[in-house]
């Protein structure tokens, strides 16, 4: 279910969970586009292991991208004004992860909500967490 305006948002509501593509092909495409693709860290498990990593990683800022995409899917009229992500532990490429969020504050007059955000790995461990301030249409007809 998507949210059209701030009046549709309920305190404590969970955003629909999102299971992003963490394949090597996708993490590699992301890394190349932001200029981080030269090493194997995000593109090649063997090369990443030679660097002492457990395997190729999902770039930390890609987790921010997953979180923003989840917010946009939840509310197609939303604008992410501020997003803050804490990289607690690495996320591995080719490993499933779950993107989640929960509403922690609502200001209906201002049309803003605050969200707590998490990225969990397949074991349910939180690898990235954060918060977002999101502006939503005040009324459905205000959507652009």
């Amino acid at each position: 279910m998507t949210v059209a305006s701030v009046h549709d948002v309920e305190f404590g509501a969970e955003l629909p969970r999102f299971h992003p593509d963490t394949s090597l092909a996708n993490t590699g495409a992301f890394a190349d586009a932001v200029g981080w693709g030269r090493g194997g860290r995000f593109k090649d498990h063997e090369r990443a292991r030679k660097e002492g990593l457990p395997g190729a990683l999902v770039p930390g800022i890609m987790a921010m991208g997953f979180l923003t995409s989840m917010i946009h899917q939840w509310s197609p009229g939303a604008r992410v004004v501020h997003i803050d992500t804490v990289f607690r532990a690495p996320l591995l490429a080719d490993e499933a992860c779950t993107i989640g969020g929960v509403v922690t504050d609502i200001d209906e007059a201002a049309g803003t909500v605050q969200l707590d955000l998490t990225v969990k790995n397949a074991a349910g461990e939180t690898r990235v967490f954060g918060t977002a301030d999101v502006r939503l249409p005040v009324a459905p007809e205000a959507r652009t």
Binding site: F18, P20, D21, N26, T27, A29, F30, D32, A33, V34, G35, W36, G60, I61, M62, M64, G65, F66, T68, S69, M70, H72, Q73, P76, R79, V80, V81, H82, I83, D84, T85, V86, F87, G130
Partner: protein, 147 residues
């Protein structure tokens, strides 16, 4: 043990780096697509409202971004996180300027010792000098114990 208050007094809020960028539309779209984005203003470079995602803006402030005379605190700096504030749309194909200063320095102590957090803030301006976004990079440094 480094004196965090002294570091703050010496380094906070002093601009130490300026970079010019022109963002590539195809790369912006690739980052949006790889992130699972579905909104056309982030995916379709042909649209007038096409713009960068926050994740792409976070990449602009990545790396070890400290003043040249900032002291070596010991351990290997780790990427502790990123934050982006969107003020207006950031478009590709136009000259942008990123001005960076240290926004915050703080320490947290735990069982494994003290960690120093350094927040480097890049403010991004469009060609008219309008501040369009802010990108924070949080670096974590495990402090070298005193001998």
């Amino acid at each position: 043990m480094v004196d965090v208050d002294a570091l703050k007094a010496e380094f906070l809020d002093l601009e130490f780096d300026t970079r010019d960028f022109i963002l590539d539309a195809d790369k912006l779209a690739t980052v949006a697509r790889a992130s699972g984005e579905r909104r056309p203003e982030y995916l379709d470079p042909k649209r007038e409202d096409f713009q960068a995602t926050p994740a792409f803006l976070a990449s602009l402030a990545a790396g070890r971004h400290l003043p040249i005379d900032f002291p070596n605190l010991g351990g290997i700096p780790m990427d502790g996180g990123k934050a982006v504030t969107s003020i207006g749309p950031v478009r590709p194909g136009i000259p942008l300027t990123g001005r960076t200063h240290l926004h915050d320095i703080y320490a947290k102590s735990g069982r494994s010792g003290r960690m120093v957090f350094v927040v480097s803030r890049m403010e991004i301006y469009d060609p008219d000098g309008v501040h369009v976004a802010t990108s924070d990079s949080r670096m974590v440094i495990r402090e070298r114990p005193d001998p």
